[in-house]
């Protein structure tokens, strides 16, 4: 009887811990509503901005969970998004074909991810090192293309009318939902996902359990590439142009978002897809709240600092968790 009571208590505690990031998201949403109302701004406008920014971050972060579950990370995801979108714009402008543009974006995004992981596998370099190199190369090449082709405009784009029919909440929600369901399915109900999580928990044991480490690392990067492709496409749907700064901060934002969503940075069996979605929207909400509250020229820098402090606080609390086993780390 006492054992049953204890088990129930632990289950309840675990459920509360799981719900904590969702509670934080709801609180941030409430705070945003209060802040926007108190300043007399239009709430619907802010919600649209937050949704459009959040959906891109959530989609890319959802794919990135596959990499993070390995205990690794990819800093080049923002640069890949920019590069894929840039090439997509070039292809559309050459062919006037939307399907071809979409295919190209996905092809380039998955290709970039594959290149990072294959380089890491072939040369036995830590994955994050190859992704740092990829970030520099992809940003530089995209910036070069944009400045060369965009000239005085400072950016390149496709006609807004091409993607306008897709620039609406139901379509974007559907894209996010379909991708999230696909990722949850692969992550939790296939050998691939289960093995990736195990690999993140203990790579030595995983190898001795017959898991091909390099193969699964490549699969994780391909999944992340799909997220990048979707993110790049949704970026073009929202603003049908790219500049050298488009999606520039996504790589770092994903890291923060995933931690906000309650997933351990160390990956492993406690990795969760919902962390990307919940954390992605939480991060964008927090960012926008800070932008409104710190409404000055220096605001951007200060809000970055406040975000960083938030991030450190969450990591600290979750590392306390690890010791006390109250919350996941």
């Amino acid at each position: 009887m006492a054992q049953t009571k204890l088990t129930k208590k632990n289950r309840l505690r675990e459920l509360l811990v799981t719900l904590l990031p969702i509670a934080a998201l709801l609180i941030l949403f409430g705070v945003l509503c209060m802040v926007v109302s108190s300043r007399g701004y239009r709430l619907d406008m802010y919600l649209r901005i937050i949704f459009n920014e959040g959906v891109v971050l959530a989609v890319v972060a959802t794919g990135a969970i596959f990499i993070y579950s390995l205990g690794s990370f990819d800093i080049s995801l923002g640069a890949s998004t920019l590069f894929s979108a840039t090439i997509g714009v070039l292809v559309y402008n050459s062919t006037q074909s939307l399907p071809l543009m979409i295919l190209t974006i996905f092809g380039v995004a998955v290709g970039c991810s594959l290149l990072s992981s294959v380089l890491a596998s072939v040369f036995h370099i830590p994955v994050f090192v190859t992704t740092v190199a990829m970030m520099s190369v992809l940003s530089a090449v995209a910036a070069q293309i944009i400045t060369t082709k965009g000239g005085a405009l400072g950016g390149i784009g496709i006609p807004a009318a091409v993607v306008e029919p897709l620039d609406n909440l139901p379509f974007k929600l559907a894209v996010l939902a379909v991708f999230a369901v696909l990722c949850v399915f692969v992550f939790n109900f296939t050998k691939i996902g289960r093995r990736l999580k195990f690999l993140g928990s203990n790579p030595v044991c995983a190898k001795l359990s017959g898991i091909k480490v390099n193969v699964y690392a490549i699969i994780a990067f391909v999944m992340a590439g799909l997220g990048v492709g979707l993110g790049a496409f949704l970026t073009l749907v929202y603003t049908p142009s790219v500049t050298p700064t488009t999606a520039g901060s996504i790589g770092m934002n994903i890291l923060v978002a995933i931690v906000f969503g309650g997933m351990p940075i160390s990956g492993g069996s406690r990795s969760r897809i919902y962390a990307a979605i919940v954390g992605g929207f939480s991060y964008i909400l927090l960012n926008n709240i800070l932008k409104i509250v710190i409404d000055s020229g220096a605001g951007y820098g200060i809000s970055q600092i406040v975000s960083a402090v938030f991030f450190l606080a969450v990591v600290y609390v979750t590392s306390m968790n690890y010791r006390t086993k109250l919350l996941p780390r």
């Binding site: 049953t4 088990t7 296939t190 050998k191 995983a206 001795l208 359990s209 017959g210 898991i211 069996s269």
Partner: protein, 498 residues
């Protein structure tokens, strides 16, 4: 005289598992107190609470007359209680010296820069002080084997000259030379009026080393024995609460096997570890491979499983397939229970379910791809049941299990997937006699089912007790092969080991 350490009414639970009910313990000056009990009895838990590794849920501790509530193991060590842990207590990414002075690097700082030469010198001194002469402070820890790492850990703890030394199941990781080093340290502690808490599953060893013995069972203190009361049968009975029935090892002394060769190792070479080793492993046979820790047998186990690549030679299955990696080995029904259980065989912060399921997915995955709880849960539960894993449920973290239960999970992982050839490297390391007996029975049963068992072990009695054929290795070479026999003696075997 007052005890150095008093632990009063200590209680500790992990989720729904009660690790310690209401245990009190005293440690006296000059005493070497043994703690013995089955896996999960609470030995490691109570000693780790004394050494600051974890906190009790309730209870009180008094150390040298003052309340004792160490914040961490480092805090405990700095104030007089040092512990050598059961599994790896070192960090592999740094040097030996950095491991030894991990929390005290500041003492070597000059103008903000660490004086590595001074630190390495001090580390060398600490190692020499316990009799380790061939390891240097500047050596990267990753370059050392498991036993030498353990010696580094011992040097690190002993250097701080604690009043109480906790030795938790350490000797299983050590060769005879390493054990002698540790025994000398224990004798020194006794002579200096300090105390030692000594945990071991080796009854013979614990009776030799300790002055007093406390038996724990299911988180409770069952009985104390003074040296003059030491009696193996009485201690065993106290440990398990019943008398062990039947034979501890196999009852028969006739070697037997099927004709079919399950796995063939031919002319294997690997540096100094293996020098032209060839062995045939038959179905229905337990082949014991023994020798000193560095004789090459552990490398052989890894190569047989494809986890290491030999410089020359090959490993082939009955159908002629060459085993070149772990995936190929598993595809051909080979399972591998590694010696370093917590690093190589288990993902500790993962559930029992994940650990058992990970190796057997092709047994229940739909279309070899889709994994659902409907098929996975019964698969895992069957292993938990058949191997009697003591746990709250299948989702309990493996890190919360005792050593013996962890090993049961490892066995479940490989047996569940229907492995036809099992490579068992030190399969009973760190498990109690109850679990050992269960493991031996299981091995015997698997042999009868026609499976090929390769048992690598540093314990001669179990090799002699279980193997149909016993192969003794020394310096990477097979020195002698013995057939199972009642007349086989350890003296005869040891001649070929040393």
């Amino acid at each position: 005289m007052e005890p150095i350490l008093e632990m009063k009414h200590i209680r500790k639970t992990f989720s729904s598992t009660v690790a310690l009910g209401d245990v009190s313990l005293e440690v006296w000056p000059g005493e070497v107190r043994g703690l013995i009990g089955e896996n999960g009895s609470g030995k490691s838990t109570i000693s780790s609470i004394a050494a600051g590794m974890q906190k009790a849920d309730s209870g009180e501790m008094v150390f040298q007359g003052k309340p004792w509530n160490p914040k961490s193991m480092i805090d405990a060590l700095q104030h007089g209680v040092g512990m050598i842990v059961q599994e790896s207590g070192t960090i592999s990414g740094v040097t030996v010296a950095e491991n030894i002075f991990l929390a005290e690097l500041g003492q070597f700082k000059k103008l903000g820069i660490i004086d590595r030469r001074a630190m390495n010198k001090k580390a060398d001194e600490a190692l020499r002080a316990i009799g380790v002469n061939d390891v240097h402070g500047s050596t990267p820890l990753a370059a050392l084997d498991f036993q030498t790492r353990k010696l580094v850990e011992i040097a690190k703890v002993v250097m701080k000259q604690p009043r109480i030394l906790v030795v938790d199941e350490t000797t299983t990781a050590l060769s005879q030379n390493g054990r002698d080093i540790l025994y000398d340290i224990i004798k020194r502690f006794r002579k200096e009026g300090k105390a030692v808490l000594f945990i071991s599953h080796d009854l013979e060893e614990i009776m030799e080393v300790c002055d007093t013995l406390t038996v724990l069972r299911d988180g409770a203190r069952i009985r104390d024995f003074r040296k003059e009361e030491f009696d193996p049968d009485a201690i065993r009975t106290s440990m398990i609460g019943r008398e062990l029935q039947g034979d501890y090892y196999r009852g028969d002394f006739t070697p037997s096997r099927l004709d079919e060769v399950a796995l063939r190792a031919e002319h294997l070479r690997s540096g100094d570890a293996l020098k032209d080793v060839s062995i045939d492993f038959h179905r229905g046979e337990i082949v014991g491979i023994g020798g000193l820790s560095h004789c090459g047998m552990h490398t052989l186990g890894k190569i047989l499983f494809g986890a290491e690549h030999p410089e020359a030679g090959s490993v082939t299955t009955a159908d002629g397939t060459k085993i070149t990696n772990e995936t190929a080995a598993m595809k051909h029904g080979i399972g591998y229970v590694a010696k370093d259980r917590d690093v190589e065989s288990l993902a500790l912060n993962t559930s029992i379910r994940d650990n058992i399921a990970i190796a057997g997915m092709e047994r229940y995955a739909i279309g070899n791809f889709l994994v659902t709880g409907l098929k996975e849960r019964p698969y895992v539960d069957a292993q938990i049941k058949s191997l009697s894993v003591k746990c709250s449920d299948r989702d309990q973290l493996v890190s919360q299990l005792s050593g013996g239960n962890k090993q049961r999970v490892v066995f479940g992982k490989w047996i569940g997937r229907g492995s036809e050839i099992l490579i068992l490297d030190c399969p009973t390391r760190g498990v109690d006699i109850g679990v050992k007996k269960a493991m031996y029975e299981l091995m015997d049963q698997l042999k009868r089912e026609g499976k090929a068992i390769i048992m690598i072990s540093e314990e001669l009695p179990e090799l002699m007790g279980m193997a149909d054929r016993l192969i003794i290795m020394k310096d990477g070479v097979i020195m002698k092969e013995f057939a199972r026999s009642r007349e086989l003696s350890d003296a005869e075997i040891i001649k070929y080991m040393i």
